[in-house]
Symmetry: C2
Subunit: 100 residues, 2 copies
């Protein structure tokens, strides 16, 4: 596995406090599918430690290429695996690392 | 350095396309101060690869403890070092890792 991660998906989710467990279960379903796909490097789910956070969860995922990411998330299998996430408003973006 | 990072600051910034260089210079000034502070572990700045991104930049920083982070960012020296960031609307939150 290369340590060079050219593409980073960062997705911030608006989740009601009472829906934490439901959100995590839906995220795990999506991840279980994505980790089988070509180009998947890894992902990290962050949960807020502040009760009044704008985004209770933020996912940071690494993919080898944008093309492999797009292929994975536009597949019918992904739509089925990620169906539980659709109810949560999300703010996704694709990034590259420009500073450390 | 421990590989265990209990606290993650994720900060999404709204930046006009024409202000990329100005933003990065301001971020570097803040980072140059923060990396001298007790409890700082590391940080990664992400820039969008999509022209229409809601957040053109997202910073993901790791700190040993919330107390050390709060001490660092409430200091007068930090306010001076980070003054250039104030013009950019930001969406900060403190997180812990709950899934990979």
């Amino acid at each position: 596995v290369s340590s060079h991660h050219p593409l980073v998906l960062i997705n911030a989710f608006e989740v009601p406090e009472a829906s934490d467990d439901e959100f995590v279960a839906a995220w795990e379903s999506a991840r279980t599918f994505l980790e089988t796909q070509p180009g998947y490097v890894g992902t990290t789910l962050h949960q807020t430690v502040s009760p009044d956070a704008e985004f209770r969860f933020v996912n940071v995922a690494h993919w080898q290429t944008a093309e492999e990411f797009q292929t994975a998330v536009t597949s019918a299998d992904f739509r089925a695996a990620a169906a539980g996430l659709a109810q949560f408003r999300s703010h996704p973006g694709l990034y590259r690392v420009v500073g450390t």
